[in-house]
């Protein structure tokens, strides 16, 4: 730590430049990360809503509905199907309008249709399922969120491509700038490095203070950028709450666990901080490693 501090004091403007470029990169990357996790969790949320809802005429029998449900299940395109009977529909209606007795008086379970809530395995199956259902006897209405999902999928894919491109550009630009600044810092210490080599220091020994300094800058810049993001998140949270009204929670299905994104929670923020710190430390140490290796070679 003492050596790192001495090195910062020795070249304060170069150190400031390293901090600023890392801060800029980590700040943008963390914002992108948070934005993408929100987007993906939102997509996840939309996909877990009933994708096709089919309402049946009053004349349709339960057997007829169950036969259709079984046919769909066997098609291989369905993730799950939920049957909602007239009584269940009435209960849902009652629950939704419990504060409005007038509305409750006007409706009985006979009026409300039975329905099937269908979740497809892939969004591309949705039009096929909807078309199939429309042709079935006893079907009154078919509602499916084709447009919303397909637009969201397209938007997500586009954003992902743009992000990959922008992110790659950002990483390459940052690495090159850091490489140049670290090279200046190394040049300032060339006599010391030469001396260390002459008295038998290994390459790792020579590299070590530069890598430690790079790690320090990586961690410090991610810490500062994270604090600014936390302040921004706290400021914008009420706006997000009103925007996302009706959505209880957003989560992202990762391979090993389900990461809760919304409402904002400590766990998600800690994960974000760890990822941004690791990214920042990695990019700084790689640039430093390349610079010192170029000098040692």
């Amino acid at each position: 730590m003492k050596e790192t501090w001495m090195s910062i004091k020795r070249a304060p403007f170069q150190s400031l430049a390293i901090f600023l470029i890392l801060f800029f990169t980590v700040f943008l990357s963390t914002l992108i990360f948070i934005g993408l996790t929100f987007l993906y969790s939102f997509l996840n949320y939309i996909e877990t809503r009933p994708q096709v809802t089919v309402y049946f005429q009053n004349t349709a029998s339960t057997e007829q509905i169950f036969r259709l449900r079984d046919e769909l299940t066997q098609s291989g395109k369905i993730l799950s199907i939920k049957y909602i009977s007239k009584e269940e529909a009435f209960n849902i209606y009652k629950n939704m309008n419990k504060d409005n007795p007038l509305l409750l008086e006007m409706v009985s379970s006979d009026i409300l249709p039975a329905s099937l809530e269908i979740y497809a395995k892939k969004p591309i199956f949705l039009p096929q399922i909807a078309e199939y259902l429309k042709k079935q006897p006893g079907v009154d209405e078919v509602i499916f969120q084709k447009d919303i999902i397909s637009k969201l999928v397209t938007a997500t894919n586009t954003i992902r491509m743009i992000t990959i491109f922008f992110f790659s550009f950002l990483i390459i630009m940052t690495t090159i700038i850091l490489f140049v600044i670290f090279s200046f810092k190394i040049a300032l210490k060339k006599e010391e490095i030469h001396l260390l080599q002459l008295i038998g220091a290994t390459k790792n020994y020579v590299r070590s203070p530069f890598l430690k300094e790079a790690s320090f800058f990586g961690f410090f810049s991610s810490l500062i950028s994270f604090f600014i993001i936390i302040i921004a998140v706290l400021y914008f949270e009420p706006f997000l709450q009103s925007y996302l009204r009706g959505i209880d929670s957003l989560s992202l299905n990762l391979v090993f666990y389900n990461l809760n994104i919304w409402p904002m929670n400590y766990y998600f923020l800690i994960v974000t901080f760890i990822i941004s710190s690791l990214f920042s430390i990695l990019i700084a140490t790689i640039a430093s490693y390349l610079a010192i290796n170029k000098y040692l070679d």
Binding site: M6, K9, R10, E191, E192, H194, L195, L196, Q197, L198, I199, G200, A201, T202, Y205
Partner: protein, 225 residues
């Protein structure tokens, strides 16, 4: 300990720094390397530390054939060698203790060993009181004593001194020589210098270089050009 056999060093632009020179230096021998500027003194030192490679010939240092192109034990070789430079090469943002300790740190010595040996060495070069002082506050003579302490510490068998008195006044130069006298017979010392008084008064072996060749090799000689 050190053996040069028909060693030639030509630089890429064609100038010949050394031409077919041969000499042997025994273990714990004290040898002066003298000659005018450009005679090849520094080239010999750089060849011993393997900073540069010979164009032809064989160089053996402590049983290492460092002229062998497959030689890859540079770090082990350099850990046996201590170097004292004319311009001291003291790290400005480290204090006296840290500057000397660096020789032990590179060989991964324990903190306890570093403290013990550095303090012993500070006493040896008479700088005990200056342990925490930074280079900017030291005189040239004191800086060179720090450099000598750094070269001696860590049980280094060979000491290469490249004009260590070149930047010092005669009185200080003699103080530095007293330290070298104290280690005489305990380490192999190669001392490159221009200082006639020192060479003549110490009566040690003198290798005189001229135009990249050994002009004379005097067992108990003086400075002759």
């Amino acid at each position: 300990m050190i053996s040069f056999d028909q060693v030639t060093k030509k630089f890429p632009l064609g100038n010949v720094a050394l031409e077919k020179i041969s000499f042997d230096i025994e273990e714990n021998e004290f040898v002066f390397l003298v000659g005018p500027s450009g005679a090849g003194k520094t080239t010999i030192i750089k060849l011993i530390t393997k900073e540069i490679n010979p164009t032809s010939g064989t160089i053996i240092v402590d049983n290492f054939d460092i002229s062998d192109k497959k030689f890859n034990q540079q770090i082990q070789l350099r850990r046996k060698i201590g170097i004292v430079f004319q311009d001291f090469k003291i790290i400005q943002d480290k204090n006296v203790f840290e500057n000397i300790a660096i020789s032990l740190k590179v060989i991964n010595s324990s903190v306890k060993k570093i403290k013990e040996e550095v303090r012993m060495m500070l006493k040896f070069v008479n700088l005990t009181e200056k342990e925490k002082v930074f280079p900017v506050q030291l005189s040239a003579g004191e800086l060179q004593r720090v450099a000598i302490a750094r070269a001696l510490i860590g049980d280094r068998k060979i000491i290469l001194a490249d004009e260590p008195t070149g930047n010092l006044d005669p009185k200080t130069a003699w103080e530095i020589m007293k330290i070298f006298k104290k280690i005489e017979g305990k380490k192999t010392i190669i001392f490159a210098t221009h200082n006639t008084d020192i060479v003549n008064s110490l009566k040690k072996r003198v290798i005189v270089l001229k135009n990249g060749k050994i002009f004379k090799d005097l067992r108990k000689g003086g400075y002759e050009l």
